[in-house]
Amino acid sequence: MADTALVLQLDDVRYRWPGRTSFGLNVPKLLLQRAETVLLLGESGSGKSTLLSLICGTIIAQSGRVAVAGEDLASLSPGMRDRFRAEQIGLIFQQFNLLPFASVMDNILLPLRFAPRRRNRVKDLKAEANRLCHDLGLPEEALTTRAGALSVGQQQRVAAARALIGTPPLIIADEPTSSLDAATQATFLELLFAQSRAHDTTLLMVSHDARLSPQFDRVIHMADIAQTERGIT
């Protein structure tokens, strides 16, 4: 029976990119608990992006098990995996996070378009988007603004609101603060922590920056959880 306190579970996962003998990733064990905030540190080329793709189900491990909220991703069809991702995972990228031509409101509500159960958890879409924007320090009038017209810091807050809406159990943030200045970085992280704690959401944040470590419940290094295989290209 699945452990309901576990949001993410990787067991003896092995992945090699098709047609490429140069790189492979092995993750013997990785467990993330509900409401846990985890910082994943790793150098460039350590396999962070591959790990995130495995967790999000856009690629499937050749062996081993990747389970999100107790569901083995390999047991789902590609279409079901896409929907499962929309239902269970909120994503924040480093930059170019939003559809620049769409309004802030449309950007925030976009994942709900593909996740009916997550959508059903939100009673009033506009009110919830408005609340998140307010909690993340965005002015109310920003909702109707074109996302491309916002500053980088504001865009990251919108991305955070989009990841948080409908309270998915897992939020993955891929270096979300790397393009922000120090002050904005600190504010953004505070807001993100506050929101994830308020909704018992698990936060897995990927970064190069070890200085962020004290703010997280747990810090893991790619080198400790994964072995990468490098061959001749």
Partner: protein, 416 residues
């Protein structure tokens, strides 16, 4: 929301999208324009003569006789003698007969000699009769009735003098026997609008002093003297015939075609028109083919635009994928954008066509005598517009499938 996002994405690339839409619009306007001209020309030709059962002339080609007698295009190779004309007129099957004598001109307009019966018997556009907008039909020998386009183009009014030139492209004029405009006809949209109509006797009258195509030197008979002369025609160019019973048409046609005294030809106008369409059918098909290729080219241009935008839009597709969109949503989004562009292009093309018709209708009418009616789109045109949208969707499948494969390969991790 997806439709709104598709619109938003198009607006974000406004310049290239507008150019693509404009290219589609122009090609659609051209295609529908060719259709309008084609159907307009057919309708215009078909409307030119109505209620005439047979056209008789000297033996030549069926289409040639139709063209020179009705449309004033080309020339007769020979005439129909007055004796033969009268003989045919006496036949029991003949209800009415109207002679036509062509050969002279005034400025760029043809001069036609006929009898007053022409104004009663000539029908166009499903049986409409000629009507005089100003003045009256000929009373005096040197009276003339002019078509609406002649009056408009040359600025003629009742009482103005007209000097007829000998032949069609001649510098010799019948200066000694000028005509007077006695009537101006209402516009008909037929070659009558571009015709100077005189009496059959007047054609003889202006040639009294002429022999072998040239004026006899030093000879100029006064008009009053000519009026006293017996101006019985020697020959006419053609004759329009109505029969008493439709059942007798073929019998009369056969007997005229086998006329022993001189080689004659009798044609059914509708059949001759069909032959004409068959002749021009190849050119017509080629014209439609060329304009269809222009539409295809515009759609391929749209495909190229979508293709060229794919790389810069990989981040956008990755965001959709990260938010849970299946690759087929990406495919659908690109097809939807193409459908929107094609639909906007088709709608704009239709608008351009009607704007062009409003502006060009009087110009085309005066320049070519071709009346293009401004009517709501026909079902055929609606199908063409729908076809453009569907073809746009099909064409976009090529870049959309590439985007589908790219989004599968990229997933949500694109570093640009």
């Amino acid at each position: 929301m997806i439709l709104r996002l598709a619109f938003g994405s198009l607006i974000a690339r406004a310049l290239t999208v507008c150019m693509t839409i404009l290219a589609i619009a122009l090609s659609v306007a051209l295609f529908l324009g060719v259709e309008k001209v084609r159907t307009g020309a057919k309708a215009s030709f078909a409307d030119t003569i109505s209620g005439t059962d047979l056209i008789i002339g000297a033996r030549s080609g069926t289409v040639q006789l139709l063209l020179y007698s009705v449309f004033r295009i080309g020339n007769a190779t020979n005439n129909l003698t007055w004796e033969s004309y009268q003989d045919i007129a006496q036949r029991p099957e003949v209800d009415w007969i109207v002679p036509i004598s062509l050969g002279d001109s005034h400025r760029q307009f043809r001069v036609m000699g006929t009898t007053p019966a022409f104004f009663d018997r000539y029908k166009y556009r499903s049986g409409q009769s000629l009507a005089v907008q100003d003045g009256a039909i000929m009373v005096d020998l040197f009276d003339t009735v002019i078509g609406a386009d002649v009056a408009t183009t040359l600025g003629y009014k009742i009482g103005d003098p007209i000097v007829v030139a000998h032949g069609l492209a001649s510098f010799s004029e019948h200066k000694d026997q000028p005509f007077r405009v006695s009537g101006i006809l209402e516009k008909t949209g037929t070659p009558v609008d571009r015709t100077v109509i005189v009496s059959l006797q007047a054609i003889e009258a202006i040639h009294v002093d002429w022999k072998s195509g040239a004026q006899i030197p030093g000879q100029s008979t006064p008009a009053d003297v000519i009026r006293q002369m017996d101006l019985k025609p020697q020959a006419v160019t053609a004759a329009l015939v109505g029969v008493k019973s439709r059942l007798q048409v073929f019998k009369l046609q056969r007997s005229i075609n086998e006329y022993p005294q001189e080689p004659l030809l009798a044609i059914l106008p509708g059949v001759a028109l069909q032959e004409l369409w068959q002749i021009v059918g190849i050119a017509e098909t080629a014209l439609i083919g060329v304009s269809a290729m222009v539409v295809v080219t515009a759609l391929i241009g749209m495909m190229a635009t979508i293709f060229s935008s794919l790389n810069e839009r990989r981040r956008e597709m990755a965001i959709f994928r990260a938010m849970g969109a299946r690759p087929r949503v990406i495919l659908g989004l690109l097809v939807l954008e193409a459908v929107l562009m094609a639909a906007l292009g088709a709608a704009l093309g239709l608008a351009l066509l009607y704007a062009g018709l409003f502006i060009g209708q009087p110009l085309i009418d005066s320049a070519f005598g071709l009346w293009l009616p401004i009517e709501p789109p026909t079902m055929r045109e609606v199908w063409v517009l729908l076809g453009v949208v569907v073809a746009g969707a099909f064409v976009s499948l090529v870049p959309a499938l590439r985007a589908y494969r790219m989004s599968l390969a990229d997933g949500m991790m694109v570093r640009i």
